[in-house]
Amino acid sequence: MAAGDSRYSAKIRAKRIALEYFKQPHPFRRWRFILSVAVPAVAALWLLVYAVRGDQRIYNGGRVSTAHTMFEKDCVVCHGPGPAPAATMPTAAAPATMLAAGVGGAAPRGYWARVTDNACQACHAGPRHHVNETFQPRCASCHREHGGRALLVQIADQHCAQCHRDLKTKDGAPPAYHASITALRQHPEFAVSLHEGDKVRRVRLDQKAELRDTAQINLNHAKHLKVNLKGIEDVEAQLGSAHLAKAKGGRQLACTFCHRPDGRGEYMEPVAYEKNCAVCHPLDFDGRFVDSAAPDRPAVVPHTRPGVVHAYLRGTIADAFDQCQSIPAGEAGKTLRQRCVDLELVKAPAEPAGDQPRGLRRGGGEEAPAPAPAPDTPRGLRRRSSLEPEIVLAQDDSPRRLRRGSDEPSGDAATGSASGGGAAGSGSAGGGGGAAWVATQLSTIEPGLFKQRCEYCHTLTKSGGAVPQVVPTAIPARWLPHARFDHAPHRPLACVECHKATTSTETKDVLMPAIGTCRDCHKPTGGARSGCVECHRYHDKTQERDPDGPFKVHQLLTGAGR
């Protein structure tokens, strides 16, 4: 019967079909059944394996932040009640401004296990933003976990704008800060903190009339950045060319010669005389006095308080006097003898004129011509005053000692003639003469030192005593204390792009860049990041917990006992 034959009807063809065919196994139905069992079984097995291993990572809504990676296997570490701060944290470690326990994050009840502030505060103090804030968000409302290996401190501006869109205070007082900021474009001009006596005043950079650096230091930035600055060869010879910059027509000091980044590269270390100034501005005072630790070098006073400088000067002069009382005989004492001759404590032997040391009084009572002072530079400090009285206390090497800490000669000095013999004049005369000589030298050298060295940069005041006082420099460590800045990412930029130092000739110039300078690069679209958290921190880090946490290692890793 042909297929096209009308007699080969459906009824006829139906006879080919087994009545109970649906009860028999068939590949298609069988595979459908096998897969319908196997695929869910594999899925269940996947869950089971992780459950047996105690690993809950598969349930994470996303990867946790890098800092919390160690907790990602155990949800309860964070999604739990957390420890009671009082029970786990030493009292001293809990800052007074810490968020109150459980604020905004009620303890989980029953089946539900939300992240509570307590859980966060087990490790983080989370100091309060501001004592006068009207709204205190939960930790987790700003710091969103499971967003990948991101920084939890990268908070969107909207979080800040919750309050700063219309800033109010708890006590109703007008806010101390701009009342409405939602983005960088609305940010007012930066305000620097200026110290005026004990007071600190915030002055915006666009308030030109009031903007004045009140630091008590004399500095001319432009002069220091001059090309081929006088003495730059000496700097290179002593320190190398690491912080010298090539400029058109020669070399100049780089900004980093004085302004060195701190260990983290965020801020600049305070300028320190010893590191940044001493190479060009040594505090030498008289070439005839040498450093006791390195007798081949002239003595320089330490860069410290005037009282200490005074004591150092007096000690150095007295040392010189003492040394000149016991000059070794022969070749060994030649150098010392020459120095003593220079100091006019010992009479010079007759020598050829060409070998005369500097400052040595020549025979015949004529003063050797001293090197011409350079009054324009600190180095021009004269070696010796022409008004200095001539006091020759010793004509030989007889030992005498000057008592320290007093202008009176010591007993030994007083009886020096008896023990040592041969000294010019009597012992008492010698001791008294030594003190007088020291006093004379001191009174001659010290005013010049303070005038030509200290006052070259510092402001000195005379308050009755013999020694002047240095007015504290009060150079601000941070100009913008309400923000943070990291110089490290800005390294590609030349310093003078932001700090206009090349045109600054006076200390009163404030060289902080205006906000417009920042906005050149930091833009919401197509620029560097411009979020609030780029410059501001929510938590008061000065109130951060002491580095003595409450947990042991296994507690931290496993959450046991937390």
Binding site: M1, A2, A3, G4, D5, Y8, K11, I12, R13, A14, K15, R16, I17, A18, L19, E20, Y21, F22, Q24, H26, F28, R29, W31, R32, L35, S36, A38, V39, P40, V42, A43, A44, L47, Q56, R57, I58, Y59, N60, G61, G62, R63, C75, H79, Y111, W112, A113, R114, S141, C142, R144, H146, A156, Q158, H159, Q162
Partner: protein, 310 residues
């Protein structure tokens, strides 16, 4: 199921719900401090509704397994399965904020995507394949019986050729003892025959019948195997027609009827082969759709339980 006018209400309803969900989602995203999140009130609502629709879509399978459940008509469940299942996908996307999230949620989204795509493919195939089968397979039969029918066709053809050419000396497995429609295992007097084709009457063998025997054993009989492979002559209708034309030329008219019967049998075999292939297209997606749907519901339940806790 054909998508026709009767689906209009479902389509409009789902579009309305989708528009409402979008109207909620867009401002929610714009104002959410931390962006969309499945854990927020809005995100959680999307998740709960979306998962409920997924469960409803999955209940279709359960209802089919228990046909005695008279909860709504089958068409209602199928329409609900199609449209609510489809609606659940954007709702779940809104729930997850168009992010894959963690490992489990990523697997869920991938599974869900495959399930939805396979379901859409299934619906599209349902629109095309039945019509295609109607035109290309007039002799359509029960899919599960195709192999059995092919064996029957081969047995009948063996008898036909043996009647014309003498014994074929081939191994013919015994027919399984099955009860078939229209009668029992044996013919009964006065009742219709249990097989659709009458047993052929033996013919006197002729020398030319050897051609038929050779052609049958080399080309035709292998084609009547349930597991026919390759691209033999009989797979191509034009080449098969040529073969049979040549047979008619070579064979005496007495055997032309036998050739015609064989040609019709081969045509039926070819249709059954087409039916099998079309059936695999028509229902093959279910091998993906159903197992993955079950896994999706299982993992989705685990996700819901854990996510609601944390």
């Amino acid at each position: 199921m054909l998508i026709d006018r009767s689906h209009r209400g479902w389509i409009i309803g789902c579009l309305v719900v989708l528009a409402a969900a979008t109207a909620i989602y867009v401002p929610y995203v714009r104002h959410a401090l931390n962006g969309p999140s499945g854990g927020s009130a809005v995100g959680l609502t999307f998740g709960v509704v979306g998962f409920a629709l997924m469960i409803f879509a999955g209940a279709l399978g359960a209802r089919r397994k228990v046909p005695t459940w008279q909860i709504g008509r089958g068409t209602f469940w199928m329409r609900g399965h199609i449209w609510l299942g489809l609606l659940s996908f954007p709702l779940i996307l809104f729930h997850g904020g168009f992010r894959l999230g963690g490992p489990l949620t990523a697997v869920l989204m991938i599974l869900f995507g495959i399930v939805i795509v396979s379901g859409i493919l299934g619906v599209l195939l349902q629109q095309v394949m039945p019509r295609l089968m109607l035109t290309r397979v007039p002799l359509e039969t029960v899919y599960e019986q195709i192999d059995s029918i092919v064996l029957q066709l081969r047995g009948e053809s063996d008898e036909l050729v043996a009647a014309a050419c003498g014994p074929l000396l081939v191994d013919t497995p015994p027919a399984p003892a099955e009860r078939r429609a229209g009668g029992g295992l044996v013919d009964r007097v006065g009742q219709p025959r249990s097989t659709p084709r009458a047993h052929p009457a033996p013919l006197a063998p002729t020398p030319e019948s050897a051609v038929l025997r050779d052609a049958y054993l080399t080309e035709i009989r292998p084609f009547l195997d349930p597991l026919v492979h390759g691209n033999g002559v009989m797979l191509n209708p034009a080449r098969a027609a040529t073969l049979f034309r040549e047979l008619r030329t070579a064979l005496p008219p007495l055997l032309h009827n036998t050739v015609s019967e064989l040609e019709a049998t081969c045509d039926e075999r070819r249709q059954l082969r087409d039916q099998k292939r079309l059936h695999h297209w028509l229902h093959g997606w279910l091998l993906v759709h159903i197992p993955l749907s079950l896994a999706l519901l299982l993992l989705g339940t685990a996700h819901a339980v854990i996510a609601l806790r944390y």
